[in-house]
C-alpha cells in the first residue's frame, strides 16, 4: 500500500479551481516530485495535505488514515512534516530552540511536571535537546546552534528548516521548493542530503521544485500539474518527452534543463 494516497483532490476558492481532481500515490521509501509552472497549484496541494487548507472535494489518505478535516498539528503528529516555500523560522529564537520545536509533538510534559521539575520532565528536556542537536548535526550546522536564527546566512536558515522538520520525526517529508535561492554548490549538497534523509532515516520525500535539473536528478517519479490538473507522470525521461509537459512547462522552444 502506498504511504500517501491522494484521490480526486479538488480545491476551489470561490470560482477559481486551484486543484482539480488530482490523484497521485507516493510509495514508502521513494523520492517524488511535483512540478508545474508558476501558479499551477503545487503549494495548494501541500497546504491541503498538511491541513492548512481544507479540500473542497476528494480524499487524502496517509497510511490508510484520512487527513480530511484534520488540524495541521495533528497531521504533523501523524508523521507528515513540511518546510515552507518562504522560510518560516522562529526568527528571534536560537537555532537550537528552533529545531527543538519539532520535538514538541513527541514530548508531553505539562504544567505540573514542569513546575515541579520532576525527573521525567528533566529527562525529557534533555532528550528534546539531544534530538535537536542530532538533527542539526545531520544537516551540518551543529556549530551554529546558539546563533539567533535570523542572523544566519540564507543557506543555513534553510538547513535549520530541514533540521526542524526532521526533528518532528516524520515518515513523509514535504519540501516546498527546497532549492530556491541556493547556489550550485549548495544544490548539489542538497541532493546528497535528500538521499541521506531517505536512506539513513527511512523518510519518504515529496518535493515541489522549480529547478528542473535538480528534479530530474533526484526523483524517481515526477508528477506534472498545470492549472491544478495532473498532465503527466513518470520518470525524468518520460516527463521530458511528454509533449503536454513541453507545452505547459518547458515552453515551445524546449529550453535546456541545466
Amino acid at each position: 500500500m502506498a504511504l500517501l494516497e491522494i484521490k480526486d483532490l479538488t480545491l476551489r476558492f470561490g470560482g477559481l479551481c486551484a486543484v482539480n481532481a488530482l490523484s497521485l500515490e507516493i510509495e514508502e521509501g521513494s523520492i517524488r516530485s511535483l512540478i508545474g509552472p508558476n501558479g499551477a497549484g503545487k503549494t495548494c496541494v501541500f497546504n491541503c495535505m498538511t491541513g492548512f487548507y481544507i479540500p473542497s472535494d476528494g480524499e487524502i489518505k496517509f497510511q490508510g488514515q484520512s487527513l480530511r478535516e484534520k488540524k495541521p498539528h495533528y497531521i504533523t503528529y501523524l508523521g507528515l512534516a513540511r518546510t515552507f516555500q518562504n522560510l518560516r523560522l522562529f526568527k528571534g529564537m536560537s537555532v537550537l530552540e528552533n529545531v527543538m520545536s519539532g520535538m514538541h509533538c513527541r514530548s508531553k510534559a505539562a504544567f505540573l511536571t514542569t513546575v515541579l521539575r520532576t525527573k521525567g520532565q528533566k529527562a525529557e528536556e534533555r532528550h528534546i535537546r539531544e534530538v535537536a542537536e542530532e538533527c542539526l548535526d545531520f544537516v551540518g550546522i551543529l556549530d551554529k546552534k546558539d546563533f539567533i536564527a535570523s542572523n544566519l546566512p540564507y543557506g543555513d536558515q534553510r538547513k535549520v528548516e530541514w533540521a526542524r522538520a526532521l526533528a518532528t520525526q516524520p515518515k513523509l517529508l514535504l519540501l516546498d521548493e527546497p532549492a530556491a535561492g541556493l547556489n550550485k554548490d549548495e544544490k548539489s549538497r542538497l541532493i546528497e542530503l535528500m538521499h541521506r534523509i531517505r536512506d539513513e532515516r527511512d523518510i519518504t520525500i515529496f518535493l515541489i521544485e522549480h529547478d528542473m535539473g535538480l528534479v530530474m536528478k533526484i526523483s524517481e517519479k515526477i508528477f506534472v500539474i498545470d492549472y491544478g490538473v495532473k498532465i503527466a507522470e513518470g520518470n525524468a525521461q518520460e516527463v521530458r518527452d511528454n509533449p503536454k509537459v513541453v507545452e505547459a512547462y518547458l515552453g515551445k522552444e524546449e529550453e535546456e534543463t541545466a
Partner: protein, 334 residues
C-alpha cells in the same frame, strides 16, 4: 542632535549599563550572590522599616504575583488581556464567600479559587482563542466589566457593599493579622510566582508559547496545537490572578466591587508593558514602578496618574519592548 544620540543604540548610556549587567550576570556566581543578597535584604527588611513601608512592599509583592500571571497571558502567549482584574475578583470572591459565609478555612479556599479561575478562563478562552487578532482584547474587556457588575448585583457577593468578615489565615497556630505577617506571606508568594514563571518559561510549554507568538502557522506545522497551548497560558495566567485575589481577600478581610475596576486591569497591564513583556525581571521592575511611583509622588495628589501617562509615552517612543532589555543578539556563550 541629542535626539539622534538617544536613538543610536551604541551611544546610549542606558544600553551600555544594561550590557554590562548582562555580562555581570552571565557568571552564575554573581547571579546567585545577587539573589542571596536581595532575598536576605528583603527578609530582614521588616525589622528596619516602618509599618507603612511594609504595607507598600506587601503591595509590591502582590503586584509581582498578579502581574507575573498576566505576563503569562500577555507576555508569553502574546494575547492582549484587558480584563485581568476579573480573574483577580474571581479568586478574591471565591475565598470571600467560602470564608465569610461558610466559615471555610482560608487555605482550603485556595483550590476552589483556582478551580473557579480555570472554569472562568475556559469559558472566556475556549470560544475566543481560536480567533486571531484583537477579538480577545474586546472579549476580556467585556468580561471584566460583566464580572464587576455581576458581583455588584448579586446577593451572595454582598452587592455594592461587598463582603466583610473574611477570616484571617492561620498558619502553625498563629493567626496572620499583622502587616509583617502579610509582608512575609506575599513575599513567599512572589518568590513562588517567580520560580513557577521561570520554570514555565524554560520548558516545552514556554517555548511553545514563544513559537506561537513568533509564527502561528509554522508552530502548527511543527505539531503544536495552537488553541490548546494558548488556552493553557490563559488558564495558568488566570489562576495566578485568582490566587493573588484569594490572598488579597485574606489580607483585607473585606472586599467590594470597587477593588476590581477596569483601572486595576489597566494598572496590571501597565506594569507588564512598562517593564517588558515576557521578561520576569521586567515584570518585577514594572510592578515596582506602578506601585512605588504613586507613593513617591503622593505630594502632587491626583496628578500623579499623569506621570504614568508621560512614562508610557516615553517608553512607547524609545523602548517599545519595555524597560528591561532583550537578551543581546550575539550570545556571549559563543
Amino acid at each position: 542632535m541629542a535626539d539622534i544620540n538617544k536613538k543610536a543604540k551604541t551611544t546610549n548610556p542606558f544600553e551600555s549599563i544594561i550590557e554590562a549587567l548582562f555580562v555581570f550576570f552571565e557568571k552564575k556566581i554573581n547571579m546567585y550572590a545577587f539573589i542571596v543578597l536581595a532575598v536576605g535584604f528583603l527578609v530582614v527588611f521588616p525589622n528596619v522599616s516602618s509599618r507603612f513601608t511594609q504595607e507598600i512592599m506587601t503591595n509590591l509583592f502582590f503586584y509581582v504575583v498578579v502581574c507575573l500571571g498576566l505576563n503569562i497571558i500577555v507576555g508569553y502567549a502574546g494575547l492582549l488581556h484587558l480584563g485581568y482584574a476579573a480573574f483577580f475578583a474571581v479568586g478574591a470572591y471565591t475565598t470571600g464567600i467560602l470564608s465569610s459565609r461558610m466559615g471555610m478555612d482560608f487555605w482550603l479556599t485556595i483550590p476552589f479559587s483556582i478551580v473557579a479561575a480555570v472554569i472562568a478562563g475556559l469559558a472566556i478562552g475556549f470560544p475566543t482563542l481560536r480567533l486571531r487578532g484583537d477579538y480577545l482584547a474586546i472579549v476580556t474587556l467585556g468580561f471584566g466589566e460583566i464580572t464587576r457588575l455581576t458581583i455588584r448585583n448579586l446577593d451572595i457577593t454582598g452587592g455594592a457593599i461587598g463582603l466583610i468578615g473574611i477570616q484571617r489565615p492561620v498558619l502553625f497556630g498563629i493567626t496572620l493579622n499583622q502587616i509583617t505577617h502579610f509582608y512575609y506571606m506575599f513575599f513567599i508568594l512572589a518568590i513562588i510566582a517567580i520560580i513557577v514563571s521561570y520554570r514555565l518559561e524554560n520548558s516545552r510549554m514556554g517555548r511553545a508559547w514563544e513559537y506561537i507568538r513568533e509564527d502561528e502557522d509554522a508552530a502548527a506545522a511543527m505539531g503544536i496545537n495552537v488553541v490548546t497551548t494558548r488556552l493553557y497560558a490563559f488558564i495558568i495566567g488566570s489562576s495566578f490572578g485568582a490566587v493573588g485575589g484569594s490572598f488579597f481577600a485574606a489580607k483585607m478581610t473585606a472586599i467590594s466591587p470597587d477593588s476590581f475596576m477596569f483601572i486595576h486591569s489597566v494598572m496590571f497591564l501597565m506594569a507588564v508593558v512598562l517593564g517588558g513583556m515576557g521578561k520576569i525581571p521586567g515584570v518585577v521592575l514594572g510592578s515596582m514602578l506602578v506601585v512605588l511611583i504613586p507613593e513617591v509622588a503622593r505630594g502632587i495628589g491626583p496628578y500623579r496618574l499623569l506621570i504614568f501617562g508621560f512614562l508610557l509615552l516615553i517608553i512607547m517612543l524609545y523602548r517599545p519592548q519595555g524597560i528591561w532589555p532583550d537578551k543581546p543578539a550575539i550570545s556571549a556563550k559563543e
